[in-house]
Subunit: 230 residues, 3 copies
């Protein structure tokens, strides 16, 4: 499947980076960063996950060795910065972001498998590739990354479906361009459905027992000491 | 000592990763993250320090190449997520965390020395291995990592004792499995004593002169401009 | 130019790391961190950008392989921690920080070009080398890095001038020690002028239309959904 993927990979990668970079740039504008802050956040969101993947795989990081990869996030930053970010535009960007999530969770896992990683580490790297840019972006912007919060819709689970499905297909010997595309589409559909229907993941038993009505902050009574104090 | 360490290393590493991952998962539950957020934080806390060490040493990062390393943090996340995190459980986890702190500060330094690092850089890498997971975890969770705050008990100093002791033993030619274990135990004991007795490190002279009574926030009058403004 | 740069590089690098480490240590003291927190922040600010550059270039990271690089940030931390950080001292440190910004944006780009990077990726890496330490430091300290905020004076633009000028000189075949020094001086002068005159970069059109009077927080009405929700 490698040769097939390679042919289609580059333009798809650029599109995925553009989608993630848009999300990062929207976050930057919402946080009222200046143009260069928007640029940095678009770069972090667009190329952060792939950069992390390449560092772990010890490859020359494409985010810094390829001019195209480098150039796409600034374009996204300019688009967001000049255009008025309407609700419609942000919605469109969220759909694109979901597509990139599906794609990178599959291609990240494929890359790891091609480098001889065992299935479980390959899945972990695929998920990190897909969610890494959003994590980096949230941390830089001084927000708890939405990926982590229970009051946000499913994000890691679609990535896990994409990465896990890819590893399962590979183990079964059925991984080709078509089946990989189907897994990416499944991951994308799951993310979009979660967004439309507000699907969320369970919180810890301790919070659920304290009553769902209390909001996230109020439900945090610090009744036990911090994990780092005795 | 290399062969001796190697024999005992793998199960000890898994135990240390489990201890750090527990701390990360407790933090995630305290911050009311969902299950996948807890998973990510457990991975970051458990394997973050070792991942950073392996990237610096330019080794294949064990956190992503070894199935065991990859699998332990999710187990810790499930344990924390399903169990009700009682005060007793958190206390037990803090003791385990101190053990992992002692162990990783020693093994991180040993790994760096084995790769031909000079003593001081090896100590720096050993300390970073030990505290890196907690730093990554705190940053992702949107908290100032407790490692940095003056109102938290000693954390870097025990790591420094572990790493420095290892480098000193190596320089003296007395580094073997027994002496390395003693240094790790010393580091562990220092951390536990600091926790029990509330030992803290000094703050800057400027704050001490402004009166200890004022709390951390109030004592921050922004009397001088930010280092980044003129 | 390589041999010329190499001769002058090491002491200049140490001076630049010291300047960045001072900025990090001042931030740590302002945030009321303890001594070891100050140490970690000084290390992150001083060597973070270069560490990132070396990881991307897949070189042994000098921040951890060279004793001098390792030792300079602790010295800065001790200086800041013992001395009373007066306004005059912070101002002096800001000027030094601007000098380091100019220098690292040039030397980071040169290093990337020497490793065969195309001009645009080399510029991106040069800028990241120059601003990376400040980013890491801000994130660890739980602050939105000033680099990103519109209400801070120009920081990325001087780095971009330094990196872009270096790449342009290299493309024109005129990159030598003298011309590289001139570009670094230009970058430094731009940063200092921005600080003195309060030069800032534009915010997004959407904020400007909502009236400049409203402050950054109030101007953030969350009128559209977060980029990560639908």
């Amino acid at each position: 499947m490698n040769s097939l993927l390679t042919a289609a990979q580059y333009p798809l990668d650029l599109a995925g980076i553009f989608a993630f970079a848009l999300s990062g740039a929207f976050l930057a504008v919402r946080k009222d960063f200046d143009f260069f802050g928007t640029l940095l956040l678009a770069e972090a969101a667009g190329t952060g996950g792939g950069l992390f993947r390449d560092l772990v795989l010890r490859l020359p990081p494409a985010a810094f060795t390829d001019t195209g990869y480098c150039l796409v996030p600034p374009v996204a930053a300019v688009v967001v910065f000049v255009l008025r970010p309407t609700r419609r535009l942000v919605s469109a960007s969220t759909v694109c972001d979901a597509g990139a999530l599906g794609m990178f969770s599959v291609t990240g896992t494929v890359k790891a498998l091609e480098h001889g990683f065992a299935p479980l580490p390959a899945i972990a790297l695929g998920v990190t590739t897909a969610v890494g840019g959003g994590l980096a972006c949230g941390v830089l912007a001084g927000e708890i990354p939405p990926v982590l919060r229970w009051d946000q819709d499913l994000y890691v689970l679609p990535a896990l479906v994409g990465a896990g499905g890819t590893a399962a297909l590979d183990a079964a010997g059925h991984l080709d361009l078509f089946s990989a595309g189907c897994v990416a589409a499944l991951s994308f559909t799951l993310r979009i459905s979660a967004l439309r229907r507000g699907w969320r993941t369970p919180r810890s038993a301790v919070w659920k027992q304290q009553g769902e009505a209390a909001d996230s902050e109020a439900a945090n009574p610090h009744r036990w000491t911090s994990p780092n104090s005795y």
